[in-house]
């Protein structure tokens, strides 16, 4: 029982991170109809920037060993992501308005290559570490309730907490602020939104900035856990089943979907994996999402739509 709960909690914590990345997808898709395959490259790019700035900035300003340096690095990396978002809108998106989904998807793959290339030219392509002072030691909880208690990784716990806070903030931003509402209007109908004076281009820059920020946080969390390396760009692929499970346009879908996939992955890895030779978590999430789609094609929270003819 204790072991099962441990796995479950581990899954939920990993799932929170998936939710975060999935939210990046959903935001961009809602506002611009772009399925952003560059999300993974953005995570990598942001993490690289963070790792290197955290190394360089203290050196430049004599801030060794203080949290100020790390904080400054975070701010600079964040600013860099804003620049990236602005450039993407300027150079790519605005020229591709009204293109088909497949074309846009390919364009974001192009962006991903460019980001990976630029990222490794600017910041180098070895493995770097990010240390934002996350605690590494595990803790035991509920030692009274279970024999041996529950072993929880503190780092994962804090990461999940940060992700949850960010997810909450984004949801609030989306539901409550004027910009958020404008975003939703754009999502519902581009032309109508434009005709009532919502500036499309600005909205796009904003969502890409937000997605950039999400990428930065995800990059920092994953980077400090696993090290900053090329494989970070594949986290986006891990988060994809989440969006199809939750529905491309649903914020709650992204959150719940992330948790389901996180838990599903962990449980399958622990309970099914050993039977078939392990390493199944990569495709298991996809198959889970797929099977789910067969029964509910509109996703968890999507409404069933009957085509008009």
């Amino acid at each position: 029982m204790g072991f099962f709960l441990e796995t479950l909690i581990g899954g939920l914590m990993a799932g929170m991170l998936y939710s975060l990345v999935a939210l990046g997808f959903v935001l961009i898709f809602k506002a611009s109809g772009v399925f952003n395959f560059a999300q993974g490259a953005m995570v990598l790019f942001a993490a690289l920037a963070m790792a290197r700035f955290a190394e360089w900035i203290p050196g430049w300003f004599g801030l060794e060993g203080s949290y100020l340096g790390t904080a400054a690095a975070f701010v600079v990396a964040g600013a860099l992501m804003f620049v990236v978002a602005w450039l993407i809108e300027r150079l790519v998106l605005r020229h591709l308005v009204n293109q088909e989904g497949a074309t846009l998807l390919m364009a974001t793959l192009g962006i991903a290559y460019v980001l990976e290339g630029v990222g490794s030219s600017l910041f180098g392509s070895s493995i770097y570490t990010i240390d934002v002072g996350m605690p590494k030691d595990p803790v035991f909880l509920f030692e009274g309730t279970f024999a041996g208690g529950l072993l929880i990784n503190k780092e994962d716990f804090i990461a999940a907490l940060i992700a949850a806070v960010l997810v909450g903030l984004l949801t609030l931003f989306f539901q409550k602020t004027t910009t958020g509402r404008a975003l939703r209007a754009v999502a519902d109908d581009h032309q109508a939104a434009q005709s009532i004076g919502i500036p499309l281009n600005r909205i796009w820059v904003i969502v890409w900035c937000v997605a950039g920020l999400v990428a930065l946080v995800a990059g920092v969390i994953w980077g400090s856990k696993l090290g900053v390396q090329f494989s970070l760009s594949t986290v986006a692929l891990r988060a994809l089943p989440v969006v199809i499970l939750g529905g491309l346009t649903s914020v709650p879908g992204a959150i719940i979907g992330g948790l389901i996939i996180g838990v599903g992955e962990k449980l399958s890895e622990v309970y099914i994996g050993p039977m078939v030779g392990g390493g199944i978590e990569i495709w298991f999430a996809y198959v889970l999402a797929l099977v789910f789609l067969l029964f509910r094609p509109q996703g968890l929270f999507g409404e069933k739509i009957i085509d008009r003819v």
Partner: protein, 358 residues
């Protein structure tokens, strides 16, 4: 002779339904075939065969397959690499497990196995569309990646799925040097391209395109979406699977699952989008572009570096390659979202009217 349709009056529907109704096109195709089969072998050195021509021919075949599914039937796939892998490993199993199995039969059985797997992974297309489907096809990709890496039976217990084949021959004809490899693949490509052209101009092709353009209307006039979509998945996977088998057997000779990773799937999708969705010709253009570009960049960049007097490191070159490759793709999508094939047909249109612009 000018490029003209005028004056070539068709006296029967049969004449109008020929594979290339315009005389000049017919000659052009014959010319290209003669060039590819006769002139190229005389002109080209081994490096060209190995680095450019053989990959181009095999990937053209795969791109044709992807184009059937994405361009003609409108079902986006990000899992084409998976079907290449299935084709390659299935052919491998037929090759080593069945005594005296002819090479060509192994390869085609590889393709057929891929077709069967394609049908299974095509089932979601009956329920979901567009980007949802695209993501669903990734399931095929990651599942096959895993199967060939972790399930030893499929790879004859080879560690981490790396296998190899040798002594390839077709009825005594040794496929051991680059020239023969090229000719062998080219012959297969020619037959398959002809099949693709025929299918796309007959009833099955119209079914695919109808589903692509307006699926509700298609069903209303008596096209079964189930059959149309799954047949597109099957035919597409057959092409892609055969290409995968050729890639493994003929081009690489020994390979592991990474040869058919998700990057390969993206690459194939790039080919058909840059080449031109829904165009047989476009598949070739796209394959040529994607095969040649990195090689050209690899040669060009150091030269440019020399010219301006900077030494570019190997890592620098590979980064620059990524940037330029990505940039060019974006540029292309912006400038000509309908692909090179569209440029080609506008060019032909102009030629047809030449020298009078209107």
């Amino acid at each position: 002779m000018l490029y003209r349709e005028n004056g070539q009056f068709k006296t029967s529907y049969a004449a109008d339904q020929q594979i290339f109704p315009i005389t000049q096109d017919r000659w052009a195709i014959i010319g290209i075939l003669v060039f590819a089969f006769v002139a190229v072998p005389l002109l080209v050195d081994e490096y060209m065969f190995r680095a450019i021509l053989i990959p181009f021919v095999i990937l053209s075949l795969a791109a044709l397959g992807v184009n059937i599914l994405v361009g003609f039937c409108g079902q986006i796939t990000l899992g084409a690499g998976a079907f290449m892998a299935v084709g390659a490993y299935a052919a491998y199993n037929f090759h080593i497990r069945v005594e005296g199995m002819p090479l060509l039969v192994s390869l085609l059985l590889g393709g057929l196995t891929a077709a069967a797997v394609g049908i299974v992974f095509g089932i979601p297309s009956l329920r979901v569309r567009g980007l949802y489907l695209a993501v669903a096809t990734l399931a095929a990709q990651f599942f096959t990646d895993w199967v060939f890496l972790r399930v030893p039976w499929f790879t004859d217990n080879a560690s981490s799925g790396s296998v190899s084949v040798s002594n390839l021959q077709v009825m005594g004809w040794q496929i051991n040097n680059p020239l023969n490899k090229y000719l062998f693949c080219l012959a297969i490509l020619t037959v398959f391209a002809l099949m693709a052209k025929n299918m796309t101009r007959s009833a099955i092709g119209r079914q695919w395109m109808a589903i692509r353009d307006m699926d509700v209307a298609a069903e209303v006039i008596g096209i079964r979406p189930l059959f149309a979509k799954l047949s597109a998945f099957a035919v597409s996977s057959f092409f892609v699977g055969t290409a995968g088998a050729l890639w493994g057997f003929v081009h690489l000779a020994s390979w592991e699952p990474a040869a058919f990773s998700v990057d390969r799937s993206f690459q194939l999708l790039f080919m058909v989008i840059i080449g031109g969705l829904g165009s047989i010709m476009g598949s070739f253009f796209g394959a040529a572009f994607i095969v040649v570009l990195p090689i050209a960049l690899n040669q060009l960049l150091p030269a440019i570096g020399d010219l301006v007097g900077v030494e570019i490191s190997t890592a620098g070159i590979s980064h620059a390659e990524l940037i330029i490759f990505g940039g060019l793709i974006v540029f292309f999508l912006i400038k000509e979202p309908h692909g090179i094939a569209r440029l080609w047909s506008t060019g032909k249109e102009k030629l047809r009217l030449w020298p009078f612009p209107h």
